[in-house]
């Protein structure tokens, strides 16, 4: 592979190293210099996790060819706290609780450091503007902004250095107190090793061949040409699975790699382990597959119709699961109602978009234990499934949970760990796979798209007397968490409201869409959206205040839920009171408001986005060279 010698100063030390010409500065720093504090979140300049200084200017190192760093001065997150102590900015992030999963944080700390260096008196709006190129999925940004403001004030002497120390818990009580996270120093310093940061001696690099088709039969796979390539150490397909192939959170319907046919675009078909990433990528192009196209199924309603294409032979009706709930008699309820509202709701696929793309290492340890290191959200279940898939006793399979750079449910599925195990066994070497952002978005589970048909009956005084709810969740190509998601969706469908007559049916169906899986709220968001929208419409129809109609129907302590769980305590009324107060809500039915509303544009309301805070800085920014 073509290479070049790069001479530069990195974190104050002169370096001279061989780089491959195609490497980005990010790759060079992470792979050749083994400084892994700088993260790769998207590879396309969108997320900012790879931010570092080159000649004093903050750049995104995923957009910098390594040749550009020739002769330059590079400063990474590892260079900030040189004496072994965190920098003031890092301490402020620790203090403010500005790190959760931590994956975006090194880039965030670099951007924050740049903001302070350019303008030591940086204002709050300018902080937001200068951090605009950095994405965080966990924190909601406020704690990050707080941290930068805290660091600024400490550096400017407006706050004492002790402001960075942990607050004493009042009266020894920790509940309600701000407690510094134990793992934050490892995150703000970039020292924490996520799976993608870890290397092992003799490690091979894995790439996955993925399906370009949504539904097609694999007539044949020929991997011989790929296997013959220099540098390729192992190629695996479903034929390499020794045990009972199948995983999933509820139903084990998904093979490690496509078996016989593919069911969605992006499904893994084969995996290659090679001496380097480029060789592995090139080997994928040498794998020959003969296809027979099958009719695709993309619409969840169509999936439930007779004669629709069948995605899984075991489920000829394309049904993953149906969850029915019956309580009272909805027809009697509707007969008592003064108002009946009918509406349909749709929600779409949503990507979790954690900053850390999937990554993992697989190896067989000296005792013959197949070991997988990955940010899995469910290692014990994965371990049990993988033991069966590998036909190995459970004590010969080990899962190590690496730090999870954000999950939100998206890392519950064992979609790549099996391939790592097979490749480690076959190559007898450690193997590592790191997803690209595109691969992560294309192949991992999404929030279930849903279609809800809703019928709600109410009396004139605002009481819900009947709710009939039918939801179809598009489970996509594999079951994953669908069964649990639609069960949760059903249990919570009618909302936290005391409704005497309820009829709920949720269906999870197979299609040839990207699989749906666990995602924050686990199926209830879809139905809550429908229920709350129905209540707003009901309030408008009945001339009631939207808060009031919810109070009228709220479940109270002692009530039974629609699935007969007794509620020992219910905080819904306090919640409503708090929301009403905090929002400055203008009381009244939705119809009473005219062109002007008293509760908008006030304190706490978000103003339209404007940029240019730095043009109006109160203290002129000093030149970069004047700032230490």
């Amino acid at each position: 592979m073509p290479d070049m010698i790069v001479e530069a100063t990195v974190n104050g030390r002169k370096i001279k190293k061989i780089a491959q010409t195609h490497q980005r500065l990010l790759d060079f720093v992470r792979e050749e210099l083994e400084l892994t504090g700088t993260k790769d979140g998207c590879g396309a300049g969108e997320c900012g996790a790879c931010s570092m200084f080159v000649d004093g200017r903050l750049v995104k190192s995923c957009l910098v060819p390594v040749g550009k760093a020739q002769g330059s001065e590079v400063e990474t997150i590892e260079g900030l706290g040189r004496t072994g102590e965190l920098s003031v900015m890092q301490k402020a992030f620790h203090k403010a609780g500005a790190s959760q999963c931590g994956y975006c944080i090194p880039g965030m700390v670099m951007a924050a450091t740049a903001a302070i260096r350019v303008n030591p008196a940086v204002g709050d709006e300018e902080i937001k503007e200068r951090l605009g190129g950095n994405i965080c999925r966990c924190t909601g940004y406020q704690k990050i902004f707080d941290a930068v403001g805290l660091a600024r004030d400490v550096m400017n002497g407006r706050l004492p250095a002790t402001a960075l120390d942990e607050d004493a818990a009042e009266g020894g009580r920790y509940i309600g107190a701000n407690v510094r996270r134990l793992d934050a120093p490892s995150k703000v310093s970039g020292a924490l090793k996520y799976a993608g940061d870890q290397v092992m001696p003799q490690m091979l690099h894995v790439q996955v061949l993925r399906s370009p088709h949504a539904h097609a039969r694999i007539v044949s796979i020929d991997t011989s040409e790929a296997e013959a390539m220099e540098g390729v150490e192992a190629v695996v397909t479903s034929a390499d699975v020794p045990g009972k192939d199948g995983f999933g959170v509820f139903v084990h319907d998904q093979p490690i790699m496509a078996r016989g046919k593919v069911r969605y675009v992006g499904e893994a078909i084969a995996a290659v382990a090679a001496e380097d990433l480029l060789t592995a990528k090139r080997a994928l192009q040498k794998i020959r597959i003969e296809w027979e196209q099958l009719a695709g199924l993309f619409d969840p309603d169509e999936a439930m119709q007779a004669g629709a294409p069948v995605v899984h032979d075991y489920a000829p009706d394309n049904l993953v699961k149906h969850i029915p709930i019956r309580k009272g008699d909805v027809e009697r309820g509707f007969a008592e109602a003064d108002l009946v509202i009918e509406e349909r709701f749709e929600t779409q696929q949503v990507e979790h978009a954690y900053l850390e793309p999937e990554a993992g290492i697989g190896y067989v340890d000296p005792d013959g234990v197949v070991t997988i290191v990955s940010p899995s959200q469910n290692i014990t279940h994965h371990r049990h499934m993988l033991a069966e898939i590998l036909a190995m006793p459970i004590n010969k399979v080990r899962f190590v949970m690496s730090p999870v750079g954000g999950g939100f449910g998206g890392k519950e599925d064992m979609i790549y760990q099996g391939m790592l195990a097979l490749l480690a066994i076959k190559s007898r070497r450690p193997v590592k796979l790191v997803f690209t952002r595109e691969e992560s978005i294309a192949t991992t589970a999404k929030r279930h798209p849903s279609r809800t048909s809703y019928r709600m009956g109410l009396t004139n005084d605002g009481r819900i007397v009947a709710s009939e709810i039918r939801v179809i969740y598009d489970g996509g190509a594999y079951g994953m968490s669908t069964e649990g998601v639609i069960r949760k969706g059903a249990i919570l469908a009618a909302g936290p409201y005391a409704v005497p007559n309820v009829k709920i049916d949720t269906y999870g169906v197979y299609t040839n869409n990207t699989p749906s899986g666990a995602f924050r709220s686990f199926g209830s968001l879809q139905t809550q959206f429908a229920t709350e929208s129905m209540l707003d419409m009901a309030a408008e129809n009945l001339g009631l205040d939207p808060f009031e109609i919810r109070r009228i129907n709220a479940m109270q302590a002692g009530d039974l839920t629609h699935t007969k769980q007794e509620l020992k305590s219910v905080s819904l009324l306090q919640c409503l009171d708090g929301a009403e107060k905090a929002s400055g809500w203008e009381t009244g039915a939705p119809t009473v408001r005219g062109a002007t509303r008293e509760d908008l544009d006030g304190e706490g309301c978000r103003k339209p986005c404007r940029l240019g805070a730095r043009f109006h800085a109160e203290i002129p920014a000093p030149k970069l060279s004047e700032v230490a």
Binding site: P2, M4, T21, H22, R24, G43, A44, G45, E46, G48, S51, R57, L58, V59, K60, C62, L63, V64, P65, V66, G67, K68, Q70, A111, A114, V118, E129, R130, G132, G133, N134, L278, K281, T436, E438, E439, A442, C609, L611, G612, R614, F615
Partner: protein, 307 residues
Amino acid sequence: MLTCDDYLIPTSLDDALELMTRHSGRQRIVAGATDILPWAREGRAGDVHVEHLIDISKVAELNEVSFGKGRVRLGAATPFQRFLDRDDLVKALPNMRHCAIWFADDQIRECATVGGNLANASPAADGTPPFLALDAEIELARREDGRTVRRRMPLSQFITGPGGNQLVTDELIVAIECDALPDYGGSFEKVGHRRSLVIAVACVSALVSIDRSGRHFDDVRLAVGGVGPKALRLADVEALLRGAPIEAGVIDEASRLPLDLVQSRTRQAYRREVFRGFVSRALAGAARDAGAEIDAVEAELEVHHHA
């Protein structure tokens, strides 16, 4: 992934052009690299191999910025961040800092160059409307028979359509030359899906000078992007406003004039609505930047726009 056999870093223009000619058909130019690296990824160009990548960002002439005879000459490799942190550019090009603040983010602005932005000729490029308003010319150079041949043309002619420009084989943008307008006020308005790192759905840039009373437009320059295949100067709106009083009614009338220009293939109704608001906001903003008292006019414009 973008791969190459060698990564060349010439330091003089002649060397850069010579390398381009020598490796003709087997090379690509890299300036800021902020477009080419995301382009060579899955879903766009995929894995791309180029034999020779020629990085022109270290070429001295392409980094020079000079001033003379009411014009500014910007080397093609000037990064957008300079419009924010160079006082002389902030002063001479009053609309460019407003453009730059909406352009990508701080990190990308340190790399992304004016030449690259114009060469890519995206209909939604942030850089095109403000440079059109500044009457920019593009200087190009190529090697011919062992010597460097230069030519220049107005920016409006240089961009021929989406992704299309007048560059011939192995020709390079050397500089952008545009008016220095220190007595003008400038503005830039853009709408996209979030505030950083978005491709504009539509953008507009205005340059305004006001008369001594501060109550009339003197000169007005207005250019828009994202509403058709090419960014455009709005000559009829400019003509209407020159010498006109800086009043809400006048600005509102002007903002309605160019609506037929909105010919984008998608979301046309939406683009028309934001476009009208943009034009009036850009004109008012540039007038304010030029020193006009405009609070009352802007308040009135809000009412006009909601009407």
